[in-house]
């Protein structure tokens, strides 16, 4: 269980997250949506202990603030909004970085690690790119590699900041489908997306942020189209929800 209680984050005098509390059960793919600059990325970074904050964040009753960096990264895998690889490294080396939380300073990946990395790349049909320079890949391919690395890490909490941002229509669905398939009964995924329909299709819970606070919290297993419209109306104007083949879609009126 991920438990966030009375979270408060500020950049200087500007409050970004104001007294936010929520909890997420294992087995949940939780989407975090909101207009630009409503604190989605800040909330994700705070849970990762990358920003100073007031309040508590707990995962399986462990206070995330008190954990050492290595312990924390064994529990949480994180995909930032922008891929952080800056120098020419092979795709395989970028993948092998995923085992880093398990390694001590002088450890190096062995054959088993390499095979696991190649197997994970194969999920997105990228194993033939294993020895290519990561920087020469398209933005979409880079995103897929970083996602396979995060999935390979098998952590109990996966945090993705706009994992679909650089992807085409087909790859967006492939990536979300894979994230969904990886949510076993013990795992939680928390992700930000801008496409409400992607969130409605794949997430089983959606938290909507506005004005530094949670403005709506939708459990999609029980939410009606009316609940969805009411919830999303807090962050988007002039919208309607239509139903097609038993699924809900948001459209601009």
């Amino acid at each position: 269980m991920l438990e966030v209680e009375n979270l408060y984050v500020a950049y200087g005098k500007k409050t970004i997250i104001n007294n936010v509390s929520f909890s997420v059960k294992p087995g949940t793919l939780c989407g975090l949506l909101g207009a630009n600059a409503t604190g989605k990325t800040t909330l994700l970074k705070t849970i990762c202990n990358l920003l100073p904050y007031e309040g508590t964040c707990k995962l399986a009753n462990a206070d995330l603030k008190s954990l050492k960096q290595r312990e924390l990264s064994q529990l949480i895998s994180y995909i930032p909004q922008r891929c952080g690889v800056n120098i020419s490294l092979s795709v395989l080396d970028v993948m092998l970085m995923g085992f880093s939380p398990m390694f001590s300073i002088f450890d190096t990946p062995n054959k088993t690690h390499r095979q696991l990395a190649l197997k994970s790349l194969e999920i997105f049909q990228l194993s033939h790119k294993a020895h290519d320079n990561f920087l020469t890949l398209s933005e979409g391919q880079k995103q897929l590699v970083i996602l396979s690395r995060a999935l390979m890490q098998e952590t109990s909490l996966m945090i993705f900041d706009e994992p679909d941002s650089a992807l085409d229509f087909q790859n967006k669905h492939i990536i979300m489908n894979n994230i969904q398939n990886n949510i076993t009964a013990e795992k939680i995924a928390l992700l930000t997306v801008h496409d409400a329909n992607i969130a409605l299709k794949y997430c089983n819970r959606i938290i909507l942020l506005g004005n530094s606070k949670i403005v709506a919290d939708l459990d999609l297993s029980s939410a009606t189209s009316g609940d969805i419209k009411k919830g999303f109306s807090n962050i988007y104007t002039d919208i309607d929800v239509i139903e097609y083949n038993g699924a809900c879609y948001i459209i601009k009126t």
Partner: protein
């Protein structure tokens, strides 16, 4: 670039290194012959062990370590033109030397010690200033490095201004141009083990070094204590470079040029390319030292040659690289 061409390139570096090492032992004013050395000729053995071998080993060690440092700096600072000078190693050592010559006894041990202390102090100061900022980016390192370099340079100029122009000033200037002329087996004996151990540790830490090239958040979420890891690596390299520079004086360009040359052939950062980049640095320095000993009546300072060889080579390779793109 195919992997076969990269293998050829690495083979050429290895062959050139072997040639430069052998050449460095046999080139010089006093001719050496293998037969006489094997026959136990005292003079030949003396020149071989105390002059040529020590000098060759130091040139190898200096070239290898400076290039290794350059490669690591360029990885951590994510900048192909980063070099150890960026955080003040050389300027700190030069200031240390000036203090040793002008304000201390000026003896060899005083000069070497103060050069070492100067280099270490400059880097520790740079790291401390960079760590005082809240920003976790490398720009704070570069800016504090520029500030420390300026401070040490102005202090050095002040010392040069008050130094005796006949003796002290000449010694300071000579240090800043670098030379292997004063290398002895004793100096090798004290410096080699520490430098070799540091180089081995750095190679073992290559995985960590590449992780430090990632953006701060990503590296941290892969379990890396970024600040501590970066500071430890820079500190280790500084010890190795300070030891070398305090013995040989300032050696320009090697730390910058060889990683750049290797990456123009093989762009991907790997432990293999780091090794061959270091070996290339050793090779260039060994050849430069051979030239320094044989070009004129008296020895030419080593940095004159490394800059003369390095700068045009770098310009050529950059232009060639751009055209290929």
């Amino acid at each position: 670039m195919t992997s076969l061409r990269i293998k050829y390139f690495y083979s050429i570096i290895t062959i050139l290194f072997i040639i430069s090492f052998i050449l460095s032992i046999f080139v010089g004013k006093y001719p050496l012959s293998i037969e006489k050395i094997l026959a136990g000729d005292a003079m030949q053995l003396n020149v071989f062990f105390n002059l040529r071998l020590s000098r060759t080993l130091m040139a190898f060690l200096a070239g290898f370590t400076l290039s290794l440092s350059g490669y690591v700096y360029q990885t951590i600072f994510r900048n192909p033109i980063a070099s150890p000078d960026i955080i003040g190693v050389s300027s700190g050592a030069s200031l240390g030397v000036a203090i040793g010559i002008v304000f201390l006894s000026g003896s060899t041990i005083a000069v070497i010690s103060s050069a070492f202390i100067g280099a270490m102090s400059a880097v520790i100061f740079t790291i401390a200033v960079a760590n005082m900022t809240n920003k976790e980016n490398i720009t704070s390192f570069v800016i504090s490095g520029v500030a420390i370099n300026s401070l040490t340079s102005s202090a050095l100029m002040l010392i040069k201004y008050v130094a005796d122009p006949e003796g002290e000033l000449a010694r300071i200037e000579y240090f800043t141009m670098g030379s292997f002329a004063s290398v002895t087996m004793d100096k090798i004996f004290y410096s080699l083990p520490i430098v070799v151990i540091i180089c081995i540790i750095i190679f073992k830490m290559f995985r960590l070094i590449t992780l430090l090239s990632l953006d701060y958040d990503e590296a941290k979420m892969l379990g890396i204590p970024v600040k501590q890891a970066r500071n430890s690596i820079l500190f280790l390299l500084t010890i190795a470079m300070a030891i070398i520079i305090s013995i040989t004086g300032r050696i320009s360009f090697i730390g910058l040029i060889s990683p750049h040359v290797v990456r123009l052939v093989n762009k991907t950062y790997s432990v293999t390319s780091m090794f061959f980049s270091s070996l290339l640095g050793a090779t260039i320095l060994l050849f430069s030292d051979c030239l320094a000993r044989s070009l004129g009546e008296s020895e030419i300072p080593i940095s004159v040659l490394t800059s003369f060889i390095g700068a045009p080579l770098l310009i050529f390779l950059v232009i060639r690289g751009d055209r290929k793109c």
